[in-house]
C-alpha cells in the first residue's frame, strides 16, 4: 500500500492531520503562550529537510501575548506568501532547553512536487545520496507558479 500519494512534505508536529483551521491554530498559540514561549513565523519555498533557516516573517514575538494578534500575523504572512510553506515555531528559553519546542506548518503551496533521490555510485557498493528538491529547479520566487 502506498501512502502519501500527493508528496505532502510531512515536517512539523501536525502534518499527518488535516490542515489546521484558524480555531485550531489559535488553540496551539494559546498553549505556547501559557507556557511562556515566544512564537515566530517563518516561510520558505525550499522545504529540503536540511534547510534549517527559513525566512523570518519578523522576529519571534517575545512581547505579543494576545493569540488573536498572533493569528493576524500568521494570516498576513499567508496573504503575502500564499504559495510558500509557512510554519509557526515556539521557542522555550528556560535553562536546559533554550531551543524550539513546537513547530507546525500552517500553509503549503497548492502543488507540492516533492523530492527526488540522486544516487551517485561510489567505491565498492557504496552510494552517495542527495535529496533533491524539485522546487529548486526554478529560481526563488518562481517555484510554485502564480
Amino acid at each position: 500500500m502506498m501512502t502519501n500519494p500527493g508528496n505532502k512534505v510531512t515536517q512539523g508536529q501536525f502534518s499527518f492531520l488535516p490542515d489546521l483551521t484558524d480555531a485550531q491554530i489559535t488553540a496551539q498559540i494559546k498553549y505556547a503562550l501559557n507556557n511562556n514561549w515566544a512564537i515566530g513565523i517563518e516561510y520558505t519555498d525550499d522545504p529540503h529537510p536540511r534547510n534549517t533557516y527559513w525566512e523570518m516573517y519578523g522576529n519571534p514575538m517575545f512581547d505579543l501575548k494576545d493569540p488573536a494578534g498572533i493569528l493576524m500575523e500568521i494570516n498576513s504572512c499567508r496573504k503575502t506568501f500564499p504559495n510558500h510553506y509557512i510554519r509557526v515555531t515556539a521557542f522555550d528559553s528556560t535553562r536546559g532547553v533554550e531551543s524550539p519546542t513546537m513547530s507546525y506548518i500552517v500553509n503549503r503551496p497548492k502543488v507540492e512536487p516533492g523530492f527526488g533521490l540522486v544516487r551517485q555510485e561510489a567505491e565498492g557498493r557504496n552510494i552517495r545520496y542527495t535529496v533533491h528538491s524539485y522546487a529548486t529547479d526554478k529560481p526563488e520566487g518562481e517555484r510554485y507558479g502564480k
Binding site: 510531512t10 529537510p49 513546537m102 513547530s103 557504496n126
Partner: protein
C-alpha cells in the same frame, strides 16, 4: 562476625591496630554523626542481613568492604590517611512494611558516603568496581541491592555526558513538540539484507522517525553487517526524499572487540547515518569510548539496555535500573530504553517516572514515591532521551503521552509491522494517533479520559488507524510489577 563493642569507632592508635578481628562498626565504617561533604559520592543499599546480624554492623561491613577494609586488622592502614579513605555508613532505616509485625523479613536502607578521592575521574568502570565490585557476595548479608546514588557535581564534571543530548537531537532531526516514533524490524533474526531494508523503508516512509536494529542483530550468517548497513541507508534516504523529513535507522555496531566496533561505526558515518546503537552488554568502558567517538563524529548514540533485567527486577537483590540510568548519562549515551508502563515488559508507573526524571532533569529533587532517594544536580550534563519499547500499540497513545510526556521515543515494532494493511499503514496509524493526541492535549482536553474517543474520531478519516484499533483494542499486559515503590503518600490528619 565479631560482636560490636559499645563505644563505636575506636580511636586511632596501638589498640586499634592490634592483630585480630574487630567489628566494622568499631573500625571507623559506622559514623552516624558524619558531616556529608558536597564532594562525597553517596550510595544507598537495600540490605537484608543474615539472622542475628546487627543492621548497623552489616551496613558498616558494606561500607568497609566497598572501600578499604578487609576481614581482619592490617597494620599497613597506618601508612595511609586511612580515615579519609574509609567509607562511612551514616544512616540505617528499616524499610517500610518489613520486619517485626509484618509478613516480610526485615530489610534496611543503608546510606554510605565515599570520599571523592576514592574514585578516578571520568571512569564508570572505576566507580562501579569500587561500589559494587566486592560487597554483593558477602556472606553476612543475605541479599543486597544498590538502590540509588548521589553523584557530586565535582565528579560529574569529569565526564563528557551524552554526546548529543535531547536538545541537539531535536535540532538535528528538526522535530519539536511531540514524542519521536520508532520501530524495531521484525522478525528479530533471519532476514537477509535486502529484505531487512524493505522493512526499514516501509516503516520510515509510512511516517515513523526511526527504525531500529534489535539488540542481537550484529553480524550473523544470515546477514553480514555491511550488507545491512548498505540496504538500510538506501531505505533511509529513499524515505527521507519521499517525506521531506530527516529519517534514521539505528545501526547496531555491537561487536566482539572494540576495534571491530570502531570499524562498523566508521562505515555508518561514511554512509551518512544520523544515529548508531550499542548494547549494554559491551561493557561500561566500551560504552564510554563509543560516546566519545559519537561526539567527535556528530552521531547520535542509542543504547539498548540488554541484560539489565538479570539484576534489576527483584527488589531484594541486585541493582535498581535508576542507577544504570545515572551511570549511562555520565558515560554519554543519547538514548536509553527506560520502560513503557503499559507494554509487555516490567514497569511500575512511579518507578518509571523516576527513571525518566533521572535522564531528563537538569536538577532532580528527592522523591521517595518515585524511588529517588537523593537530590541530584546534573551539572549541565546533556539530557538522555528515554525510549519506550515493548508491546505498545496506537490504542494506548493517550496513556503513553500522559505517563511519558513529549521527550521520549515511542517504539512500536509489532504494532507497526503487524498491522493488517501492511507496514506503511501501521506507521501511518501510529503517527496519526500521536499527532491527534498531542494536538488534543495542547488544546487542553482531558486525554486520559477522552483518549479513546479522540482516537476513534481520527479513525473516522484514517483507515489505517481504524484497522489498528480494531486489531489490538483488547490487548493489555496486566501483571503485578515486581519492582514497586516502598513509599506511598499517606494522608495526614488536618490541623
Amino acid at each position: 562476625m565479631a560482636k560490636a563493642e559499645a563505644g563505636g569507632t575506636m580511636k586511632e592508635g596501638k589498640d586499634r591496630y592490634k592483630a585480630g578481628v574487630l567489628p566494622y562498626k568499631n573500625m571507623g565504617y559506622w559514623e552516624p554523626n558524619y558531616d556529608i561533604k558536597e564532594t562525597d559520592v553517596l550510595a544507598m543499599f537495600r540490605l537484608t542481613p543474615q539472622a542475628g546480624v546487627d543492621p548497623e554492623e552489616a551496613a558498616a561491613a558494606v561500607a568497609g568492604e566497598s572501600s578499604t577494609a578487609t576481614w581482619t586488622v592490617v597494620w599497613t592502614d597506618r601508612l595511609t590517611a586511612c580515615e579519609l579513605y574509609r567509607a562511612k555508613a551514616y544512616r540505617v532505616d528499616l524499610v517500610p512494611n518489613t520486619g517485626p509485625g509484618t509478613k516480610n523479613e526485615a530489610q534496611y536502607f543503608a546510606y554510605i558516603a565515599y570520599d571523592l578521592d576514592l574514585f578516578e575521574g571520568g571512569s564508570i568502570a572505576n566507580l562501579t568496581a569500587s561500589i559494587i565490585g566486592n560487597v554483593f557476595g558477602f556472606k553476612a548479608v543475605k541479599a543486597l541491592r544498590l538502590e540509588d546514588m548521589r553523584i557530586p557535581v565535582a565528579y560529574l564534571k569529569t565526564f563528557q555526558g551524552p554526546a548529543t543530548g535531547v536538545v541537539v537531537e531535536r535540532e538535528r532531526l528538526d522535530k519539536f513538540g511531540r514524542p519521536l516514533l520508532g520501530a524495531t524490524t521484525k522478525p528479530k533474526l533471519g532476514l537477509s539484507g535486502r529484505n531487512y531494508g524493505r522493512v526499514v523503508y516501509e516503516g520510515l516512509k509510512g511516517g515513523l522517525d526511526f527504525m531500529k536494529d534489535d539488540e542481537n542483530i550484529n553480524s550473523q550468517s544470515f546477514m553480514h553487517w555491511r550488507d545491512r548497513f548498505l540496504y538500510c541507508m538506501d531505505a533511509v534516504n529513499k524515505a527521507s526524499a519521499a517525506t521531506g523529513e530527516v529519517k534514521g535507522h539505528y545501526l547496531n555496531v555491537t561487536a566482539g572487540t572494540m576495534e571491530e566496533m570502531y570499524r562498523r561505526a566508521e562505515f555508518a558515518k561514511q554512509l551518512g547515518s544520523v544515529i548508531i546503537m550499542i548494547d549494554l552488554v559491551i561493557g561500561y568502558t566500551a560504552i564510554q569510548s563509543m560516546a566519545l567517538w559519537a561526539r567527535q563524529n556528530d552521531m547520535i548514540l542509542h543504547l539498548h539496555r540488554a541484560g539489565n533485567s538479570t539484576y534489576s527486577r527483584q527488589k531484594n537483590h541486585g541493582m535498581s535500573f535508576r542507577v544504570i540510568c545515572k551511570w549511562m548519562r555520565m558515560a554519554g549515551v543519547d538514548h536509553i530504553h527506560a520502560g513503557t508502563v503499559v507494554g509487555k515488559l516490567e514497569g511500575d508507573p512511579l518507578m518509571i517516572r523516576g527513571y525518566y526524571d533521572t535522564l531528563l532533569d537538569t536538577h532532580t529533587p528527592m522523591n521517595l514515591e518515585k524511588g529517588l532517594f537523593f537530590e541530584q544536580d546534573w551539572a549541565s550534563l546533556n539530557k538522555v532521551m528515554p525510549v519506550a519499547s515493548g508491546g505498545i500499540h496506537a490504542g494506548q497513545m493517550h496513556q503513553l503521552l500522559t505517563y511519558l510526556g513529549d521527550d521520549v521515543v515511542l517504539q512500536f515494532g509489532g504494532g507497526t509491522i503487524g498491522h493488517p494493511q501492511g507496514i506503511q499503514a501501521g506507521a501511518v496509524a501510529n503517527r496519526v494517533a500521536l499527532e491527534a493526541m498531542v494536538m488534543a492535549r495542547n488544546e487542553g482536553r482531558d486525554i486520559w479520559n477522552e483518549g479513546p474517543q479522540i482516537l476513534q474520531d481520527a479513525a473516522k478519516w484514517c483507515g489505517p488507524l481504524k484497522a489498528a484499533l480494531d486489531t489490538w483494542k483488547d490487548i493489555t499486559f496486566n501483571y503485578d510489577s515486581t519492582d514497586t515503590p516502598d513509599f506511598v503518600p499517606t494522608t495526614t490528619a488536618s490541623a
